[in-house]
């Protein structure tokens, strides 16, 4: 399918970027919405005439789209596993981890179950929400709990970290394991509690330019921006840990 | 309402209604009364308001005015389902999803009978209308006449105090009609409630009803016992219905003037009158017959049609009239449309009565 670049000038955003090399399409995990939007503006400012278009969604969905031939230049995933499906399909090579995300215990501001540390979650009376093991935050949670030698029975295994966070915000659960970035973005609606085992359960965010990118130069430039100090600053400000 | 009516006890009407229904381009305003066990036939041309009156009695069409009293109880504000009525609709309205039997059993069920009981009652009613073997058929599988008989059974099965029948016999064939008519009569005889029967068939009305009410254009134009109405029609519609020629004229001692034509009559009467005579009383002549100038007029033939064994000749002229003559006479006179003829009526066959 890569044999005829530029035939579809108006059919898709990526195609038009192919024609002029003035458009860049970035597929990024939804948790990167705010930081990448900001970086996009920076990128546009640095490259006049270039329009950055984002497609935010679940990493898995984005990976599906890319393997089905979506016209994307850059893929930034929220987990190595989803990036792997893309690299396995030879749609990208050599992804780089650009940030990491660390777990925190999130509790409602009034902390009804009086949770202080990770082992409090093992108490049967504490309602706990975790991410499902299939999604990165769930995998991380399992790693953390294993490291602490705890057996926690959650009331729910959420499909993504935001859903987990929502349960805490609304007081449906007494505690949840979520990313630090999420606690931060929730403002005052939840309280984050650091715990030592979190260091054993860090999730990497990989980024890679795509091999069939309509605008390979811009793709590379954008990845560079994300990896640069400037990019790191934006991400760290949002609660990510530098890779 | 008031317990102290002039006529207490036996003569107390079962049904007393004044029905007013307003519609764009139509207004119904009729009074109806029916004694216990009486059958009132409501006659009238298409669009006269018969169905509307029936629906108003049933509570299906709200009254714009008037009142309905049944057995001394005001029905106006009683909801349809609490009115002790049975209705046969002009287009049957059998429930398409129920068998004939279950259609008939519907009413008894609603009155609290057990399923088994209701079906037994229904079976008996289907038997009575001669449809026992179609008990299991759905309405779509019934012929028009069969459907109407099921509708009849359905209405009767609730043992109503007021029975409302909108052309209950219209779709029946001559034989079944005769049978169902007699059965209906028998049932109506046993029935101690009031019955309102809408029909177009004068014979049905004559046979079944104790009292006729003729409405035209939403208003009562004539009422009375069938024989009286049949003998003394007061409107063209009624006259045609009972098969008479009818005119309005001025009487002066055995002589009635209708336009240019003068009739001799047997009655001694004065003032405005109706005069009526049957088409069979009209004789036709090609040339002016000798004799008195009375009861004689010149007319043009408007049309000729077979009518039973005879031929009916429609006449235009100073007065419009129908004449029934034998086919032989048609041949003898060599009648054709447009032709001029003389028409005469025997004085003994006319009947004059105050208008």
């Amino acid at each position: 399918g890569s044999d005829e670049p530029g035939t579809t000038a108006s059919a898709s955003p990526a195609a038009s970027s192919a024609a002029s090399s003035s458009a860049l399409t970035v597929f990024a995990a939804a948790s990167l919405t705010e930081t990448f939007t900001e970086l996009g503006k920076t990128f546009e400012a640095a490259n006049p005439g270039v329009k950055v278009t984002f497609n935010f969604g679940s990493s898995a969905t984005l990976a599906q789209q890319i393997t089905q031939g979506a016209p994307a230049d850059v893929f930034a995933a929220a987990s190595p596993a989803t990036m792997k499906t893309v690299t396995d399909a030879s749609m990208a090579a050599a992804p780089t981890t650009f940030v990491r995300n660390k777990l925190e215990i999130a509790v409602p501001p009034d902390n009804p179950a009086k949770v202080d540390e990770l082992k409090d979650l093992a108490d049967a009376k504490v309602k706990v929400a975790l991410c499902a093991e299939q999604v990165p935050c769930g995998a991380a949670a399992i790693k953390a709990l294993d490291a602490a030698g705890l057996k926690v029975t959650p009331v729910t295994l959420e499909q993504d970290v935001k859903a987990t966070l929502t349960k805490v915000e609304l007081g449906e659960v007494d505690a949840a394991l979520v990313y630090k970035t999420d606690v931060l973005s929730a403002g005052g609606k939840v309280t984050g509690i650091d715990f030592p085992e979190a260091d054993k359960a860090i999730n990497d965010y990989p980024i890679a330019p795509l091999s069939k990118a309509p605008a390979p130069d811009l793709a590379k430039k954008f990845v560079d921006l994300v990896l640069s100090q400037q990019g790191k600053d934006v991400l760290v400000k949002a609660g990510f840990e530098a890779a | 309402m008031s317990g102290s009516e002039q006529d207490p006890g036996n003569g107390r009407p079962r049904l007393e209604a004044h029905l007013v229904v307003e519609r764009p381009r139509f207004r119904l305003d009729v009074e109806l009364a029916a004694d216990a066990g009486q059958v009132i036939a409501l006659l009238g041309p298409n669009g006269a308001g018969k169905t509307t009156a029936l629906r108003a009695l049933a509570g299906l069409t709200p009254l714009s005015g008037g009142h309905i009293t049944l057995d001394g109880r005001a029905l106006n504000s009683v909801p349809v389902e609490r009115r002790p009525i049975g209705v046969v609709f002009q287009d049957y309205l059998l429930f398409p999803h129920l068998s004939a039997l279950d259609n008939v059993a519907f009413g008894p069920r609603c009155q609290g009978a057990s399923k088994h009981e209701a079906r037994r009652t229904a079976g008996a009613w289907l038997e009575r209308v001669g449809l026992a073997e179609h008990a299991a058929a759905r309405p779509r599988q019934l012929s028009g006449g069969q459907a109407q008989r099921v509708a009849l059974a359905r209405a009767l099965a609730v043992e109503p105090r007021l029975l409302l029948l909108d052309e209950p016999l219209a779709a029946l064939d001559a034989h079944t009609r005769l049978e169902i008519r007699s059965r209906l009569r028998r049932h109506l005889g046993d029935f101690d409630g009031a019955t309102i029967l809408v029909t177009h068939d004068p014979l049905d009305a004559m046979v079944l009803a104790d009292h006729l009410v003729v409405i035209e254009n939403g208003a009562v134009v004539q009422q009375g016992p069938p024989a009286e109405v049949a003998r003394r029609p007061r409107t063209d519609y009624v006259a045609r219905l009972v098969g008479l020629n009818l005119y309005r004229g001025a009487a002066d001692e055995q002589q009635v003037t209708v336009g240019d034509v003068i009739f001799s009559v047997t009655e001694r009467i004065h003032g405005p009158v109706f005069i009526a005579f049957p088409p069979s009383a009209v004789a036709l002549f090609r040339t002016r017959p000798d004799g008195t100038p009375r009861n004689l007029w010149q007319a043009a033939i408007e049309g000729i049609e077979r009518h039973g064994d005879n031929v009916r000749v429609h006449l235009e002229g100073p007065i419009a009239a129908a004449a029934d003559i034998t086919p032989a006479a048609v041949a003898d006179l060599d009648l054709t449309a447009g032709q001029q003829v003389w028409a005469a009526v025997k004085a003994t066959e006319t009947h004059a009565y105050p208008a």
């Binding site: 679940s58 990493s59 898995a60 969905t61 599906q64 596993a81 989803t82 499906t85 309602k127 929400a129 499902a132 299939q134 999604v135 959650p154 009331v155 729910t156 295994l157 959420e158 499909q159 859903a163 929502t166 349960k167 609304l170 007081g171 449906e172 | 049933a58 509570g59 299906l60 909801p79 349809v80 389902e81 609490r82 009115r83 009525i85 049975g86 209705v87 609709f89 309205l93 429930f95 398409p96 999803h97 129920l98 519907f106 009413g107 069920r109 609603c110 009155q111 359905r154 209405a155 609730v158």
Partner: protein, 251 residues
Amino acid sequence: MLLAVLGMAFLVLPLAGLLVRAPWSTMPERLAEPQVLEALRLSLVTATIATAVCLVLGVPLAWLLARVSFPGRRLVRALVTIPLVLPPVVGGVALLLVLGRRGLIGQWLESAFGFSLPFTTAGVVVAEAFVAMPFLVISVEGALRAADLRYEEAAATLGASRWVVFRRVTMPLIAPGIVAGAVLCWARALGEFGATITFAGNFPGRTQTMPLAVYLALETEPDAAIVLSLLLLLVSVAILAGLRDRWVTSA
């Protein structure tokens, strides 16, 4: 005719896509996993109960909208479509705000009965019913409006109360419409994902229905997700093909 076939193709072709893509070789073992059957059972049970709930609440509501004239009926009718338009995840949040532990009503439920809907199978039913009910209500209302009122009048003259008229005349007459609505409702409940996971959470055996399992499978093994989806489809199509004509023609 051509259009009908085109329409059919449009609906069915994507299935072909899934079938082509499905990993047939590993299919049996994937389906043998106990969690899969559990999720399937839970889906079928909750969707069926949710449909029943919708019938009980929705048919009267449809009747009210179609037959009783009251001020604000237009608005109420439009409000009924809320759960349709609301993105399901937001619907789930809304349900939490009302029926959750700290919700308007949930708070009271919990303190009075010590009973909380979220994270329970009952919660799944509630979420599914919330999302699926408009389908039933709107279909049934349409059927009611198209029905001939005169049969209801005839029933009333036979002494049937409004309720009896409804049950014994109106309902059978509009049975095809009710069946259509129930099918829509059931299918929608069966496929419901967003509101369920948000309101009831996702716990195998208790609240994890097939769509939830599919979604999570999609995160890691898209092929497994396709297998699960095909299973869900197969079962629902089989059930519908088996039941529907019977209902429809008996009506």
